[in-house]
């Protein structure tokens, strides 16, 4: 969930492991006897890692390999037939699929940008030394710690033209003439789904930014304050650069979440109306699970993995540069 935070951790600790035979002076007899009882390091390490590796191999790696194989098949409930690259050719030439890819990236960039901006504002507010901030910090958490699907039920209601408070209050104020169904129109459905996605993601981003802000040394602020720097200047020149590594890694993490965001769209719109909120992941699900086109669905899944892989590599490269520039380890 939060792993990319460590994407640039140095791995060089591993070589410093204690080995008794490295000791430069000769060991007393008892110690030498002890050594034979200890397992070799590499063997012991693999023993510890094995359950995790085994689990991932069976539940992730093997299905992934299956997905790649299926993507070259015409597969359904009836059986499988090798069709070569046909599934991919269909996708490459499909205009609808191009639209879905463009929409997915638009969805991702817009949603992530909003999450980061709101998260930064939220963290700054919660970091302000005002009475009640401990309570505010608790109140930010609920969207994060409830099942995503439950939050979506609440939003489903909010967006309802007849029952929902949004449409209702807008009518009462005369902003709209009649009930407005947020999820029934192509454009509003897409943006409504984005708002909900942002709502789900903001608490986590906020709390991570808040944690990062609290890690910034007070000395820096005090020094700047003594020199007469205002709040805005301190925020721009101290806070932002200091938490930059977290901002960058958080944005990658959010991007991956948002790209893969399925439940929200599925519960709110099922990708509709008329495909207006269908992203890659929803399209994949619809093709494979909804229409039992396992082969075509798998080809889409492979494209998702490739796109995310390419995106992440580019991002990690960028992250490394940022970390170097801001001197974070």
């Amino acid at each position: 969930m939060v792993s990319f935070i460590y994407a640039t951790d140095s791995n060089d600790h591993c070589s410093g492991e204690l080995r008794l035979n490295d000791t430069p002076f000769s060991l007393p007899q008892t110690k030498t006897a002890q050594r034979s009882k200890t397992l070799p390091e590499g063997f012991f390490a693999w023993l510890l890692v094995a359950p995790a590796v085994l689990f991932i191999a069976v539940i992730v790696a093997w299905p992934l390999a299956e997905t790649i194989r299926l993507s070259f098949m015409e597969a359904g409930l009836g059986g499988e037939k090798y069709v070569g690259l046909a599934n991919y050719e269909d996708l490459v030439t499909s205009r609808k699929f191009h639209e879905i890819i463009v929409r997915t990236f638009y969805w991702m960039f817009l949603s992530v940008a909003l999450k980061l901006v709101l998260g930064l504002i939220g963290a700054t507010l919660l970091n302000a030394a005002v009475p009640g901030r401990a309570l505010f910090r608790v109140l930010v958490m609920p969207p994060w710690v409830i099942p995503i699907a439950i939050g979506c039920i609440g939003w489903l209601w909010l967006y309802n033209g007849h029952f929902g408070v949004l449409s209702g209050v807008a009518q009462n104020f005369g902003l709209i003439d009649g009930p407005f169904e947020f999820l029934a129109h192509k454009r509003s459905a897409f943006y409504s789904a984005i708002v909900t996605d942002v709502w789900v993601g903001v608490p986590m981003v906020t709390l991570f930014f808040l944690a990062a802000m609290q890690g910034v040394s007070r000395d820096l602020y005090e020094a700047a304050w003594v020199d007469g720097a205002g709040r805005w200047y301190r925020f721009r020149r101290i806070t932002i650069p200091q938490i930059m590594p977290v901002i960058v890694s958080m944005s990658l993490l959010s991007a991956i979440f948002t790209f893969n965001s399925f439940e929200i769209i599925w519960i709110l719109t099922e990708g509709g109306p008329r495909g207006a909120s269908t992203t890659l992941i929803v399209d994949t699900y619809k093709t494979a699970i909804g229409n039992y086109k396992f082969g075509e669905g798998s080809a889409r899944a492979v494209i998702i993995v490739l796109l995310l892989g390419a995106f992440s590599l580019a991002y990690l490269f960028f992250l490394n540069k940022v970390n170097k520039k801001y001197g974070a380890k």
Partner: protein
């Protein structure tokens, strides 16, 4: 001194916090209002925010409309705890190995774990379905627990590894010199020191396991008695006559137990994020 605000600044901060929290809490507020509203008031036109006879009836009736509600709540928590428990048992030794030991293919393995984080179960549903079927796990709790664990292992390893790296190496070395075996050192020296980290990672894994049960549940489980809360309630949304007020009441009551747990744990969570997840 530096942190002192003028009255106007103070007011501005509170107004902004209020707006921010309104956005965050609006759906909960709306769900609560809907749960109090008598069903026939829903179709009133023009829209009235205030109904004259709000009542808590839905909170009684929901237990009849959603007879398995108690079971759903239990399932959700049970699945989340099982996932967390199993994940931690697998993650702790692996994270230790990655943090402290040297072994062949270490970097490659770590890289693969990182890569697994990149995609979700949604892209692997069909083969995953087949794997679970051939293991005979479909329509059992395991159908939801096993995939949940798999996709949380990498997260857990990455998080915990960075905690373990911060524990002073000298302590382990001292244990070694005193003749402790590797396993003993891990159990009696490293783990007790890692408790704060273990709590934070455990909480993070729990959130992941609890928040994202929906997809695996609707895909791999058809047994109604085993459904977690979100999947159980989702089933009702498609019905012709949805008693919405009861649905909202059920959803709110359903998430209450875990909310209460988090109220107590939030201190650790925020502290943990500060201490571990963010490197200065």
């Amino acid at each position: 001194m530096m942190d002192r605000y003028t009255k106007w600044q103070m007011a501005g901060i509170y107004v902004c916090v209020a707006i921010f929290l309104t956005f965050v809490l609006l759906p909960f507020f709306e769900m609560f209002m809907a749960s109090l509203r008598p069903l026939e008031h829903l179709f009133r036109s023009p829209y009235q925010f205030w109904s004259d006879d709000f009542s808590f009836d839905a909170y009684h009736k929901m237990w009849e409309t959603v007879p398995l509600l108690g079971r759903y709540i239990f399932n959700s928590i049970f699945i989340a705890f099982s996932v967390t428990g199993i994940t931690m048992v697998i993650v702790v030794p692996a994270a230790y190995a990655f943090a402290r030991l040297d072994f062949p293919f270490k970097k490659a393995t770590l890289g693969i774990f990182l890569g697994v984080n990149m995609f979700t179960g949604a892209v692997l549903l069909i083969p995953l379905y087949r794997v679970l079927r051939s293991l005979g796990l479909l329509n059992t709790y395991w159908a939801m627990i096993v995939p949940g664990v798999a996709f949380l292992i990498p997260t857990g390893i990455w998080l915990l590894r960075s905690y373990l790296e911060k524990i002073p190496r000298e302590l382990e070395e001292a244990a070694f010199v005193d003749g402790a075996s590797r396993m003993y050192t891990l159990r009696r020296v490293v783990l007790p020191l890692a408790v704060p980290g273990l709590i934070v990672v455990g909480v993070a894994v729990f959130i992941g396991a609890y928040a994202q049960q929906f997809l695996f549940a609707i895909t791999f489980n058809q047994t109604r008695e085993l459904q977690p809360l979100p999947a159980g309630l989702y089933e009702f949304i498609g019905y012709q006559s949805v008693t919405w007020n009861e649905m909202m009441a059920a959803a709110l009551v359903g998430v209450l137990p875990v909310m209460v747990i988090f109220l107590f744990l939030q201190k650790y969570l925020v502290a943990g994020l500060t201490a571990g997840a963010v490197k200065e």
